[in-house]
């Protein structure tokens, strides 16, 4: 019982890319004798996800997150390794497998733009063979949760980006998938719409225990939804653990902001080893201070400089990610 929803071992995907030297000579050479190179988008990837988990895939652009999702949804064939998703081999794409998964792509619409969303929902109802009663109930519930019921009969192309994304979410959840892949579902949305969608997913997941794999460049999405984080760098898994463990990679540190009444000496020895990030005016700074030294260092700083505002919080996940992407050697293992 409680078999993993996703289980993959040594999963890898290579892409063949053409190479062309710059200029006319390069163009002619590429025309006569094209050269190709194989690039490993994902390599040696092991992953296990249990039912009901929400896992956040983190990593910079081109790290391999989306390729990993494409392999796990059966869209692209892995070059190496093995994967089982819901007990199926994804790339074989058996119909029962497709009925149980959903993929939301923030950068690509899956609904038909030329017709109202409700027409697309009805089409998906047929594809997923959702009984009429369940369909009506789900459309009503999801429409209420997302606040888009009044837009069902409007052509998709006339909706705003946020409204369109809400329709996409509805479309992907109409068949009540066991496993949902969300690839940057809040990209391009304003902060209010982002929060709306985050809250929706948190409530939906709590109620339905759907397994969710999420990628997002907005750390607020990850922090709000994902107790577990998988960090992907250069196509490889570099971290897999709780959000607390992730935040602790750089040591137990606090993030301190100071605002001054006047410009201060930025070369003062007190700033040493605090990783100061000055703003352009030189009137405020952000620091990283070890938790056990916070009291002592704060007293020193408040005594030495004309501080008018002081705030502290735990190290933002963005900072941790940025530090790890630029200094991968800090990662364990």
């Amino acid at each position: 019982m409680n078999e993993p929803v996703i289980s993959c071992q040594a999963l890898g995907k290579d892409y063949r890319t053409s190479r062309k030297a710059p200029g006319l000579v390069g163009t002619l050479r590429a025309f006569v004798a094209p050269q190709y190179a194989s690039v490993a988008a994902v390599a040696d990837f092991d992953l296990e996800v249990r039912p009901g988990e929400i896992v956040g895939l983190l990593g910079p652009n081109g790290a391999g997150k989306t390729t990993l999702m494409k392999m796990l949804t059966g869209i692209v064939e892995p070059t190496r390794g093995s994967a089982r998703v819901l007990g199926y081999e994804p790339f074989k794409r058996p119909r029962d497998f497709r009925r149980r998964i959903a993929l939301v792509m923030g950068q690509k619409t899956q609904l038909w733009m030329d017709i109202p969303a409700y027409d697309s929902f009805q089409l998906l109802q047929r594809y997923y063979e959702v009984p009429d009663k369940d369909f009506a109930e789900r459309v009503h519930t999801l429409g209420e949760m997302l606040g888009v019921r009044h837009l069902f009969t409007t052509h998709m192309r006339r909706l705003s980006l946020g409204e369109r994304m809400k329709m996409e979410l509805m479309a992907c959840l109409l068949h009540k998938p066991d496993l949902c892949f969300l690839d940057e579902p809040t990209i391009g949305l304003d902060v209010v719409a982002q929060k709306h969608i985050r809250d929706f997913f948190r409530d939906y997941q709590r109620e339905n225990q759907t397994t969710i794999i999420l990628t997002s460049h907005y750390m607020a999405d990850i922090e709000a939804l994902c107790p577990r984080i998988v960090l992907v760098l250069g196509g490889r898994k570099r971290f897999d653990g709780t959000i607390g463990e992730f935040e602790g990679i750089l040591g137990k540190e606090k993030f301190v902001s100071l605002v001054f009444s006047d410009r201060v000496d930025q070369n003062h020895p007190l700033w040493t080893d605090l990783n100061p990030q000055w703003d352009e005016s030189g009137m405020s700074v952000e620091l990283q201070i070890r938790e056990d030294a916070l009291r002592e260092r704060s007293i020193q700083l408040l005594s030495a400089f004309p501080v008018v505002d002081y705030s502290t919080e735990k190290l933002p996940i963005e900072r941790v990610l940025k530090a790890l992407v630029t200094n991968p050697h800090l990662l364990p293992g």
């Binding site: 497709r98 027409d119 047929r126 594809y127």
Partner: protein
């Protein structure tokens, strides 16, 4: 199971019709433009050719016969050539078939349903066109049996066209651009099928060679069925259309299975 599958086809077809009709001007032009092009170009050219020759027949075709041939060629084109899958290669290149890999309704079924939707609309255009051509005197008294057989044969040919277009579209898995192939194939098809020049006007050697290809089946044969030409082996021709369709369907299945392994879902 079968009922659920049929409902998927039916719903996809009706949604496709809604999509075609979403843009009214585009939709109306789509219906009217082929007739306009036909009258403006094909019919006028042949009329001019015959008039410049003082009405003298060409390889047994009188002017009236040739103009009737062109009228029926236009009707056959309406009934057969939907070209709804012309954009398949672009969809592959831009990663737009991704959704169909996720839905429990295969990509080919989606494109086939779109084709059925378009054919229904084309059929609704073809029937009034036949009536209009007759009413304006372009066609003589209609032989209803020949018309029914011609329509039936044309619908069979439309399936062959669809499978052919779909197979060509799959080249998008390997090639960035396939429109040149399509244009070349389209030109060959128009020329060698007798859509513009009846095959009877070709040199005998070329007629023999073309006879071994499916090209005559896609225009010349159905036109002759509409014309009521007695010598057309209808049963055998229908069998050939089915055989070519089946063969191409097998090829497209193989090509799809190979091509999908190269798919990268670009753009997501």
């Amino acid at each position: 199971m079968l009922k659920a599958e049929l409902r998927k086809w039916q719903k996809t077809t009706s949604v496709s019709i809604s999509r075609y009709m979403a843009f009214k001007v585009d939709f109306l032009l789509m219906l009217v433009a082929p007739s306009f092009v036909f009258v403006a170009i094909n019919y006028s050219i042949w009329r001019s050719i015959f008039q410049s020759r003082g009405g003298e027949s060409i390889s047994g075709f009188s002017m009236d016969q040739m103009l009737q041939y062109q009228c029926w060629s236009f009707i056959v084109a309406l009934l057969t050539r939907s070209h709804r899958t012309w954009n398949l290669s672009e969809h592959i290149r831009l990663g737009r078939i991704t959704s169909f890999l996720l839905y429990p309704f295969d990509a080919w079924k989606f494109y086939a349903s779109e084709f059925v939707a378009f054919q229904l609309l084309q059929f609704c255009t073809a029937l009034p066109s036949i009536i209009a051509l007759r009413a304006f005197g372009f066609l003589p008294q209609l032989d209803l049996m020949a018309c029914a057989l011609g329509i039936l044969f044309s619908l069979l040919v439309s399936v062959l066209w669809f499978v052919c277009d779909f197979t060509l579209g799959l080249a998008g898995f390997w090639l960035e651009e396939v429109w040149v192939f399509r244009v070349i194939f389209g030109l060959f098809a128009v020329l060698l099928s007798g859509a513009f020049i009846p095959i009877e006007l070709f040199p005998p050697v070329l007629q023999t060679v073309i006879g071994y290809t499916p090209f005559p089946l896609i225009t010349s044969v159905p036109v002759h069925i509409f014309l009521g030409t007695k010598s057309v082996p209808i049963g055998w021709s229908m069998g050939m259309v089915c055989a070519w369709t089946a063969a191409l369907a097998v090829v497209s299945g193989v090509v799809w299975r190979r091509g999908i392994r190269l798919y990268t879902a670009a753009g997501i």
